[in-house]
């Protein structure tokens, strides 16, 4: 590890810290304020869109109605993206004349982009037309992110609203949240962001792929396309689906160290800001900062481990002193180096983004363990836009329940009692991860359809299986690589994992919001369990780690952990 390496990491974190309050305040104004920015320009657009969604009256919804609206919209999304891919050979903006996408792959991709996962079993440049990329995927990048923010806001409203004497049942309106998030937050930022990316050399065209003769005299096809417009939302919406197969390692997607820094920063920007929005909703910004602090602790633990692991030489070449001194550079771009690659891997898996600028498969065992664990902790280390906040809030409910009793009161959060019903919903939420990740991995590890896709044997192969289902269920979308996921078995099981990891978790979260929103608020006093200080931050970190570690430690010890010890003994896979 070097000083320069660490200063990159600290610079990155400083930027995130700096944006949290202003952006969080802006988000609060957009979603909870009485008037939205630029009412003359964007106001009419909002009204037209709301009318289109049948929500012109902006009437608030109960959790059931909110969930139904979200599910209906998502069903529409899955179907439209599926059809777009199946019919792309008949549609315009297909200069390469790419054929229709196969049914399993189209299902997988539709599920992937609807759930904000952006797992890619396809290679963008060789599979999808510009229309499929723009109207299907980029569109989903926007709305799935906005929908995630909506769910987080609904849950936040459930905790923070103070019911009047006539009670409180509603959590906001899904369509209003969806449209405001897209219109006032994602679109304007991405507009500027895309222009910045173009200025740095990211592509933005509709050209056919040119053939070039390289310096050595070989022939090469250069993939083209409207990259910058998709790249911006890919990061800001923690989507992560690259325009090209190589994702953010591709020079046309992420050309310079500056774009690399901005890309990482834009992954964390909204998730970090939402903690502050939450604090403002709770009427106590320290509540938000406590969440931010817990996330930061986990972030630093991850990045330090990954960076330290990657500075060690790859066990396969450890004997070659010249190579070993550079640390583990296999699968990394020289223009980013160890620190920015380890940082990118940590950030993208903390935040359920899934963009990659290096091959996680090539990381040292413990370096590869970090992205895996980040995801398995529930995507709560800043997490996906919205998903991170509602995920950590579920962990807060668990923490408050487990330890809250120790102050001699029945558990409460922000003055609202956590009772049997909330516990049931929180546990349903928690169960989805082990059910899908461990359940599917256990099947894939023993049946031929699963194992035949592996490139590597032994513990590394297990990590590949585990990583795929973790990434899918956690709606991350990054790939460990080394696994041929474009087979009917993998496309379908991963598609199910993604859908389960999104909607089977969102519905309990919204139900929890619905059950909390009407609860009476007990004013805080000296006997109240404090949830806005360092003590609580520490507790929250322990609960996140223990719940995650206890669930996945056995299988991790058969994967990256045993691989680490074997590598130490000179056995590599």
């Amino acid at each position: 590890m070097t000083l320069i390496g660490w200063s990159q990491i600290l610079l990155f974190f400083g930027l995130v810290l700096a944006v949290t309050k202003p952006l969080g305040t802006y988000l609060f104004r957009v979603f909870e304020g009485d008037s939205q920015p630029l009412p003359r320009v964007l106001g009419p657009v909002e009204r037209v869109l709301l009318r289109l969604c049948g929500a012109a009256d902006r009437r608030e919804q109960t959790w059931v109605r909110y969930s139904l609206a979200l599910l209906a919209f998502s069903l529409f999304s899955v179907l439209s993206v599926y059809l777009l891919q199946r019919l792309q050979h008949l549609l315009p903006l297909n200069p390469q004349g790419l054929g229709a996408v196969g049914p399993e792959l189209a299902f997988n991709t539709a599920a992937s982009f609807t759930t904000n996962t952006n797992w890619q079993s396809y290679g963008g440049e060789s599979t999808l037309s510009y229309l499929s990329q723009m109207a299907g995927l980029a569109w989903q990048n926007f709305v799935s992110a906005a929908a995630g923010i909506g769910v987080a806001l609904a849950l936040a409203r459930g905790f923070t609203r103070r019911p009047g004497p006539e009670g409180q049942k509603t959590l906001g309106n899904f369509w209003v949240d969806l449209i405001r998030g897209t219109l006032y937050v994602l679109l304007p930022v991405c507009f500027v962001y895309a222009l910045f990316l173009v200025s740095q050399g990211v592509l933005q065209n509709f050209s056919a792929y040119p053939e070039l003769v390289t310096l050595e005299g070989g022939r090469q096809t250069l993939a083209m396309g409207p990259v910058a417009s998709q790249e911006a939302i890919k990061m800001l919406g923690t989507n992560g689906g690259g325009f090209f197969n190589a994702n953010s390692a591709h020079p046309f997607e992420n050309p310079t160290p500056l774009t690399n820094l901005v890309q990482m920063f834009s992954i964390f920007a909204i998730p970090a800001a939402l903690t502050h929005t939450y604090g403002k909703m709770a009427g106590d910004t320290k509540q938000g900062w406590a969440l931010f602090a817990a996330m930061s602790v986990l972030f630093f633990a991850g990045v330090a481990t990954a960076y330290a692991a990657e500075t060690q030489p790859n066990a396969a070449v450890a004997s070659a002193a010249q190579v070993a001194r550079a640390g583990n550079m296999e699968g990394k771009e020289v223009r980013y180096g160890l620190s920015a690659s380890a940082l990118f891997a940590t950030v993208t898996t903390d935040a359920s983004c899934g963009a990659v600028n290096s091959m996680h498969d090539s990381f040292n065992p413990l370096g590869g363990l970090v992205p895996l664990v980040n995801m398995q902790l529930g995507e709560v280390i800043f997490g996906g836009v919205g998903a991170g906040l509602y995920g950590i809030l579920i962990m807060v409910v668990l923490s408050v329940f487990i330890a809250g009793l120790m102050v001699g009161r029945t558990p409460e959060y922000l003055g609202k009692k956590i009772e049997a019903k909330e516990m049931k919903l929180a546990m349903l939420y928690v169960l989805i991860f082990p059910l899908f990740i461990l359940g599917l991995a256990a099947v894939a590890a023993v049946i031929p359809q699963g194992v035949s896709s592996l490139n590597d044997a032994g513990p590394h192969g297990l990590s590949e299986i585990l990583y795929a289902y973790t990434s899918g269920t956690a709606n991350n979308g990054s790939a460990f690589a080394g696994l041929n996921a474009n087979t009917p078995f993998w496309n379908i099981t991963l598609g199910l994992a993604m859908l389960g990891g999104r909607f089977l978790m969102i519905v309990p979260a919204l139900a929890l919001a619905g059950s909390m929103v009407g609860k009476k608020v007990v004013p805080a006093g000296p006997g109240t369990f404090p949830t806005n200080g360092t003590l609580f931050t520490g507790l929250l970190v322990s609960v996140v780690v223990i719940v995650g570690a206890l669930t996945f430690f056995p299988v991790l010890s058969l994967g990256p952990i045993v691989e680490h010890f074997l590598a130490g003994a000179g056995k590599v896979y």
């Binding site: 007990v522 006093g525 404090p530």
Partner: protein, 686 residues
């Protein structure tokens, strides 16, 4: 022996152990185990490993784990279930012992039922609601009821543990009698108010036996958490078999069950019901009878305490503390008049005046006879009392409420000095009660009656403030007086000139703000407020209506008991929290014991993960299982006794508990498992 009078049985009383051991075996019945899902998983796991042992015995396989290992693990898994059963049985056993004593008391009572003015002897269980029974000195009162005729002193020690007899009389707030208590003097007629099986004693037996016990709301929520965690670990362990198979690691059924049992929260799962029963039991030892576990839990959550001033915050009676003569009146004259006016006054206030005059002004009490005095008693109309003298010259001495005396003096043509109103105002401001004294048409002065705040009460309220609980004093006094006493006693707020309606309204307002309210009460007019309060503690001396309305009865009728009730509630919740935290934190060490043991056969390179340096894979797994079982036994005393509550404020309390049970919970099993491993090695088992 009575429940209350009995010495608190030591935690593991030998006489209770035998039945508890028998009960823990009985509780192995699937019907009983199924009520606790966590222990049910252990039970099913034990059954599975037993089958595996039998299979190994019948058809030994060469690659199987050694028989001594599978047999020991199986045994210790069964012990885990038994230990959890034992914890519950011990908690129940303590209740049952008390119930047994109570039941003995209920037997062989014969009642003297009054039918048409005649008495007939019937066994107590034949009595019905509405029957009239006569009780004389020496009789046991055959059932709960109300005194409708007569007055008697009653020994209620069987219920309350208090040996001093109490007075029970018809009418008023002291008319309720409890079945099983003994009449010491006089004769009363009691109207029975409950049918057999519903009496106070019956309910008490049901409660202490745990027969009437239902899971409380928080207990249910905690159960859901534990079941959820159990399912998570079930998934983790079941999927581990195929995942290990992929890695070429064959896992034996015994080892997987051992891992599962060690990971699921057996510690808290096994002790949860014992904690609940013990909480009720602890309250009973403080002579408070909770009608439901829900009420005990709610007591921990109480935000606002409503306390009656009289008897709780101040000593029951006001005391005369000084005499203030009006200008031109000698102190001796006022003192003498005050004494004469109070000699025949048997109220505590009256007696305190006589005492004050005697002690402070060294005046011996006059003989009323010598003066041919006639005593004028207090009436609600005149609101004064005193005496009329004939010797040496006719005098009419009166004492009473200031406005009443003023009217009396003015009616006789006397003048009222301005100093009187000022003095009365001053006394009122200081929380006292002024009594004016007059002799004929002359106003002599004022007696200052003062409420005496109980010693140590202020410190108790400070403790409550530290807990985050607000105290509100309820009094019939005027606001000025109330404010002064409130200040002196250190309560946070007061409700003056309280009527039953005002009390009820106050509780509703507090609850409207989301607070939980506790109060005590004894009179019939307290019943609505007791019913409305989240925790309503009725005094045992109170009326039947009050007892029915509240959800707890204080057998000692000590209003300060509310403070202890709250502490017991908090203890109950804290004990659950600490054991849950401890249980979950334990898992870290168990992983480090079992996982390397499972995989090291195939991957010997994993040795560094065996941080405890356990002797062998078999010994590691067995040690973890033994630790897991023994920790339940080790924590039974804590579960029964409860974690000590300290009024430190939530933040400090949490820091302390997290350190002790969270961090401690991570460390303890590392040490414990290692020690067991060493011991196993020492006996040569591994």
């Amino acid at each position: 022996m009575s429940p209350a009078a009995s010495k608190p049985a030591s935690l593991l009383d030998v006489s209770l152990l035998k039945p508890a051991l028998r009960d823990s075996l009985k509780k192995l019945h699937p019907r009983d185990v199924a009520r606790n899902p966590v222990m049910f998983v252990v039970w099913a796991g034990s059954l599975l490993t037993t089958v595996l042992v039998v299979k190994d015995l019948v058809a030994p396989r060469p690659d199987a784990a050694p028989l001594w290992f599978t047999v020991s693990v199986t045994l210790w898994l069964w012990f885990t279930v038994l230990f959890a059963n034992f914890a519950e049985a011990v908690a129940e056993g303590r209740g049952k012992a008390q119930a047994g004593a109570l039941r003995k008391m209920r037997k062989d009572t014969t009642a003297r039922r009054m039918v048409d003015g005649r008495e007939e002897r019937v066994p107590a269980p034949d009595l019905r609601k509405g029957d009239l029974v006569a009780c004389e000195a020496g009789d046991l009162i055959p059932g709960d009821g109300e005194v409708v005729e007569g007055i008697a002193s009653v020994d209620e020690s069987a219920i309350t543990g208090e040996s001093a007899p109490v007075i029970r009389e018809s009418g008023g707030d002291r008319s309720a009698v409890t079945g099983g208590t003994k009449v010491l003097s006089d004769r009363i007629v009691v109207r029975i108010s409950v049918n057999p099986g519903e009496s106070f004693l019956d309910r008490m037996i049901g409660l202490v036996e745990g027969a009437a016990r239902q899971k409380t709301p928080n207990e249910i929520a905690l159960h859901i958490l534990l079941v959820g965690l159990t399912i998570v670990f079930l998934l983790a362990c079941v999927t581990l078999v195929p995942l290990a198979l992929y890695s070429g690691v064959p896992l034996s059924g015994t080892a997987v069950v051992a891992l599962l049992v060690c990971l699921i929260p057996t510690t808290i799962g096994g002790l949860l019901s014992a904690i609940g029963i013990a909480g009720m039991d602890r309250l009973l030892r403080k002579n408070v009878l909770a009608m439901s576990g829900r009420a005990v839990e709610a007591a921990g959550d109480v935000d606002t305490l409503l306390l009656d001033k009289t008897g709780t915050i101040t000593l029951g009676n006001r005391m005369a503390t000084e005499l203030l003569p009006m200008p031109g009146i000698r102190m001796e004259e006022l003192a003498e008049a005050s004494q004469l006016a109070s000699l025949a006054d048997e109220t505590p206030e009256g007696r305190s005046i006589v005492t004050l005059v005697k002690d402070t002004y060294k005046m011996r009490p006059h003989e009323l006879q010598a003066h041919h005095a006639t005593f004028v008693p207090f009436t609600a109309q005149t609101r004064m009392s005193g005496c009329d003298l004939v010797d040496p010259h006719p005098r009419g001495i009166r004492k009473g409420a200031v406005d009443a005396i003023v009217k009396h003096v003015q009616a006789q043509g006397g003048a009222v000095p301005a100093e009187l109103v000022q003095a009365a105002g001053r006394i009122g401001d200081a929380g006292g009660t002024p009594l004016a004294v007059s002799d004929g048409a002359r106003l002599l002065g004022i007696i200052h009656l003062k409420d005496v705040v109980k010693g140590g009460i202020k410190e108790r309220f400070d403790r409550f403030r530290a807990m985050g609980i607000r105290t509100v004093m309820i009094t019939g006094d005027n606001p000025r007086t109330a404010a002064a006493i409130a200040r002196e006693a250190g309560v946070d707020d007061f409700l003056a000139e309280a009527t039953p309606e005002a009390k009820l309204a106050l509780i509703r307002t507090e609850q409207g703000r989301g607070k939980l309210v506790a109060m005590t009460g004894d009179g019939t007019n307290d019943a609505p407020a007791l019913a409305q309060a989240d925790v309503g503690v009725a005094m045992n001396t109170g009326t039947q209506a009050a007892k029915e309305a509240g959800n707890m009865v204080d057998l000692d009728s000590n209003p300060t008991k509310l403070l202890e009730v709250v502490e017991v509630g908090k203890q109950l919740l804290m004990t659950r929290g600490t054991l849950t935290t401890f249980s979950i934190a334990n898992d870290v060490a168990k992983y480090f014991a079992i996982l390397p043991a499972l995989f090291m056969g195939v991957f010997p390179e994993m040795a560094p993960l065996n941080v405890m340096g356990l002797a062998s894979p078999f010994s590691a797994i067995l040690s973890a299982v033994i630790f897991n079982a023994l920790i339940i036994i080790a924590l039974i005393p804590l579960a029964l006794r409860g974690v000590r509550y300290r009024p430190l404020g939530a933040a400090a309390l949490l820091r302390r508990s997290l350190l002790l049970y969270g961090v401690g919970g991570v460390i303890v099993p590392f040490v414990g498992i290692k020690v067991i491993d060493v011991l196993l090695g020492a006996v040569g088992l591994v």
